[in-house]
């Protein structure tokens, strides 16, 4: 397989100029304000299954999104057609649409004084993610799969080992003269083996490593072995009777609770009264040991950006501090609606208005090891997977499918499956009785191991 770098020849230098010229043309056509975003990226991915290359994908793309304001009316358009006629249509389309939308007194781009770029090296871009020839990238995928399959004779099949690399370039410009840009890189590797027991029953799990530079990617063997360990421990799973016991969530599963907290402090949900945390600022909403931070400025972080999708510098925002709700996460619009200040959490793709996105969103770690937390439980459930979408953000009601390991006298005893774990997030946040010391970022949201009391397990 020949090295093929032609398509990866890097980002187009003209994006900054294009964004600025689109803003200038929109303003000349009568907009009172405008904002353009250009997103371009190059991706490579490969999957190796049972030792053979299954897919090999390589591509680059570039597209533009535009928001125009006519006083308090606004609309947006996007296009992957960056020819002159495409840009013409982008601009005129936005004007036509804006004329039919409503006046919204809260609409608008940020004030000039709010715009800016977080200074300092955020360590987001490393060109080494594309430094390897395709054969070596494929070899990463092959090695991580093989490590999982070689780990145990019960490893019988596989959904493959994968290696991905991507670089992205983002440009944001607005009619206050803001023009910002940044590049990000990432590479990742994953292994998804399948184990089978004597009865023929199969279990699948996976593990992965994600980094901004090849230098920080874990070894394929370490990833494969961890994938095998996570898969093997699920073999022979049984169903248990319904019961109320303490549950311990492994960091990946606990991370999904952090996602729920993010949804509940999302300014959009808050001003719409669609969150169980709406109207609770300054109140105690969680146990006293709970501190949740959103930080868009952590160097190398997967949720790090120098500025948000409206050109406001990202920041560190304590969301919950010692159990007290300190801040929602806001963009310009939701901040105005709530009479607050933006927290630099505007997030947008190419289409539509900015929404809210997290920076690096995490639960501060505690001092106990996962083993100590499990060791202190007589009877309980260690949850390793949640399944389904049974979370109602309006009420906080929570009921999700689960798989895990039964805890008996402080030890992991046997795997269980086909059960649900249910409660209400309002209670769950107050019933997090222990927090592990194992905080680790494998994405923009992260949590250490946590123990939650008072949840109901439904089974046979």
């Amino acid at each position: 397989m020949a090295t093929h770098t032609e398509i990866l020849s890097g980002v187009d230098a003209g994006s900054r100029e294009l964004a600025s010229s689109v803003i200038a043309r929109a303003m000349k056509s009568g907009a009172t304000a405008a904002e353009a975003v250009i997103s371009e990226g190059t991706e490579f991915s490969t999957v190796v299954r049972m030792g053979k290359v299954e897919t090999l994908k390589e591509s680059g793309s570039r597209a533009i999104g535009l928001r125009v304001f006519l006083g308090k009316r606004s609309a947006s358009t996007y296009s992957s057609d960056l020819t002159e006629s495409g840009i013409q249509q982008l601009i005129s389309g936005a004007f036509e649409l804006a004329r039919i939308t409503s006046e919204d007194p809260y609409s608008g781009i940020p004030e000039p004084s709010q715009l800016g770029v977080f200074s300092g090296d955020l360590q987001l871009y490393y060109d080494d993610v594309f430094s390897l020839p395709p054969e070596e990238r494929i070899d990463f995928a092959r090695r991580t799969e093989r490590a999982a399959l070689d780990a145990d004779p019960r490893m019988k099949n596989s959904d493959g080992g994968a290696f991905d690399a991507a670089v992205g370039h983002r440009v944001l410009a607005n009619s206050h003269g803001f023009v910002g840009e940044f590049r990000r890189s990432y590479c990742s590797m994953s292994s998804a083996p399948i184990a089978q027991d004597e009865s023929g029953a199969m279990q699948r799990d996976y593990w992965f490593s994600l980094a901004r530079t090849m230098a920080k990617l874990e070894s394929p063997e370490a990833v494969g072995l961890e994938a095998a360990r996570r898969t093997l421990r699920r073999l022979g799973a049984r169903k248990i009777a319904s019961i109320q016991v303490p549950v311990v969530l492994d960091p990946q599963v606990a991370g999904s609770i952090l996602d729920n907290i993010f949804d509940a402090v999302n300014g959009d949900a808050v001003y719409r009264q669609s969150s169980f945390l709406a109207g609770k600022l300054g109140e105690k909403v969680a146990a006293g040991n709970i501190t949740v931070i959103d930080d868009g400025t952590i160097p190398g972080g997967f949720g790090t950006e120098p500025f948000d999708s409206e050109g406001v510098p990202t920041q560190r925002t304590p969301v919950i501090e010692n159990g007290v709700l300190k801040s929602y996460l806001l963009n310009t619009y939701t901040a105005k609606k709530l009479g607050l200040k933006t927290t630099g959490n505007a997030s947008r793709g190419l289409a539509g208005n900015p929404g809210i996105g997290s920076g690096n969103f995490f639960l501060e770690k505690g001092s106990r090891t996962p083993q100590q937390i499990i060791g202190g439980i007589k009877q309980g459930l260690y949850v390793v997977q949640f399944l389904g979408f049974g979370v109602n953000m309006v009420t906080g009601d929570f009921s999700r499918g689960a798989s895990g390991l039964w805890i008996e006298n402080g030890e992991l005893a046997y795997p269980v499956e086909e059960i649900t774990v249910a409660g209400n997030l309002k209670d769950m946040l107050n019933n997090i009785s222990e927090i592990g010391d194992d905080l680790e970022f494998r994405g923009s949201t992260a949590s250490p191991t946590i123990r939650i009391d008072g949840m109901t397990i439904a089974g046979a």
Partner: protein, 476 residues
């Protein structure tokens, strides 16, 4: 020449000669098959929130994906620039998957005769935006008028027109213009300390007229508001195994999660599905016959041709409880020596096609819905659902009811909240003891995710009784 052939041939200046050249480049290092997928997608979205138009957006996305198959390997590259040199470059990249002497595509193309399941729509951006906006405003007004306890309403309208052209090295030549529209509402109701949410929506491969005549904004608005109000008084769902009755229509998501994904040919080819090797075996009670039918007129999950250019079909998956077939695309069909069922779908030109469902439903039985409810001693009657998910390999699936009731001694009693159902795919349908005579398909809001790719789908069931299923609430 059809509308979208002219789009790609005239707007982008592509000629049949070019197509042969691109395919030739794609097969320059050998390979068994190559195809080109041209896509031109226009979309419109309008959101009304707090009774004002908060967001209006239109967009265009166009591109071409080139795929090369060599044995069970897939090479893929795409470009969002349809200039000839960019497509050639993508073809050259995809070709790298193979390593042998060059092959040639078949000379000339043959266009399959296909269905015409939906209206040929004008590109979204050209249709009347004011008419669409009025639909959204009507939905907002109707939901607010339903009950003073409705405090928040968000109404959205979304439509798109996807024009595709699929060219294969085996002579495949297929084109389609696929409209898709959806109107949806979310309501929040408040009463004292209690809050609740209701959601409704629908649509399909229809034009905007559908929402004036067939399913009005008021219809969806009343439904969303009604659900929110009912949920205000809902009590905790019970926990444990019990009888479960599923209402007709959207609860058919049970089929989608419990068996549909497990019957996609790629998982079975690789032996990673809990259904692997079960063809000809009993996987459901003999009252169950399940099909995947991509040929229903105007349905959200319907398509004239799949994203590999093959005509869609009505495929029997389970007949009287016996597993009859898998859902296949070209790759799995060739490798498994089984028929291609026309289920090769992809999210866009940037994605590799794979076997996906279209409209998956169970055929009607003989029982009346009333008799089914009457037969339940103690159980749950679930009539509306949010999403669901399945672990293909161990077969465990969950789906969460957004509207459900307790059934006690044959009577529907209190509304329930927080009601998730969990089961095991290969045996869930063996517990089906009654099948209603009231088959319904869903209203047209389903989107299915697999390997990070989303495609629109439909589901349906008649009222069904499962003798045993685990209900995941917190109550007794």
């Amino acid at each position: 020449m059809t509308q979208n052939q002219s789009l790609f041939f005239q707007k982008f200046g592509i000629t049949p000669n070019d197509l042969q050249r691109y395919l030739g480049e794609a097969l320059s290092a050998g390979g068994d098959y190559a195809d080109l997928y041209f896509e031109y997608l226009t979309s419109t979205s309008i959101t009304v929130d707090e009774s004002i138009v908060k967001s209006a957006s239109q967009g265009i996305s166009a591109g071409c994906g080139v795929r090369v198959l060599a044995d069970d390997r897939t090479g893929y590259a795409y470009t969002d620039d349809l200039a000839p040199e960019k497509i050639m470059r993508a073809a050259r990249t995809a070709a790298l998957i193979a390593r042998g002497p060059a092959k040639s595509p078949i000379e000339g193309f043959k266009e399959n005769t296909s269905h015409q399941l939906y209206p040929i729509a004008a590109p979204s951006a050209e249709a009347d935006i004011a008419a669409k906006l009025e639909l959204v405003m009507r939905g907002d007004r109707a939901a607010r008028a339903y009950d003073p306890r409705i405090v928040q309403v968000r109404t959205g309208y979304f439509d798109e027109v996807r024009q595709i052209l699929v060219i294969g090295s085996d002579g495949t030549f297929a084109s389609d213009v696929q409209p898709l529209a959806r109107l949806s509402l979310t309501c929040v109701a408040k009463s004292g300390e209690n809050s609740a949410k209701g959601q409704a929506g629908g649509g399909g491969r229809v034009s905007v007229d559908y929402f004036q005549t067939e399913r009005t904004p008021e219809h969806f608005a009343r439904e969303a508001a009604r659900q929110a109000i009912i949920q205000l008084d809902a009590r905790e769902a019970p926990a444990g195994e019990m009888e479960v009755v599923l209402g007709p229509g959207w609860p058919g998501i049970l089929l989608h999660e419990a068996i549909g994904h497990g019957l996609e040919a790629d998982f079975n080819r690789k032996g990673t599905s809990a259904f692997s090797g079960m063809l000809g075996k009993r996987v459901a009670s003999d009252k169950c016959t399940v099909v995947d039918n991509g040929t229903l007129p105007s349905r959200r999950g319907s398509i004239n041709v799949d994203d590999e250019g093959s005509p869609t079909q009505n495929t029997v998956l389970i007949e009287n409880g016996i597993l009859k077939g898998y859902l296949s695309d070209k790759l799995s069909s060739r490798l498994m020596g089984m028929p291609d069922t026309g289920n090769g779908r992809r999210e866009s030109y940037a994605h590799i096609p794979m076997p996906r469902m279209t409209n998956t439903y169970m055929l009607a039985g003989d029982d009346s819905p009333e008799d089914i409810i009457r037969s339940v001693k103690r159980g749950v009657y679930a009539v509306n659902f949010g999403g669901g998910q399945v672990d293909i390999t161990n077969g465990k699936f969950v789906f969460s009811a957004s509207e459900a009731y307790m059934v006690e001694n044959g009577q529907v009693t209190a509304p329930l909240k927080n009601c998730t159902l969990i089961g095991n795919g290969p045996d869930a349908l063996t517990k089906v003891s009654m099948v209603g005579n009231d088959l319904q398909l869903d209203e047209g809001v389903g989107t299915c995710g697999k390997d990070g790719q989303s495609v629109p789908v439909g589901v349906g069931i008649p009222t069904l009784k499962l003798d045993r299923m685990t209900v995941g609430g917190t109550g007794r």
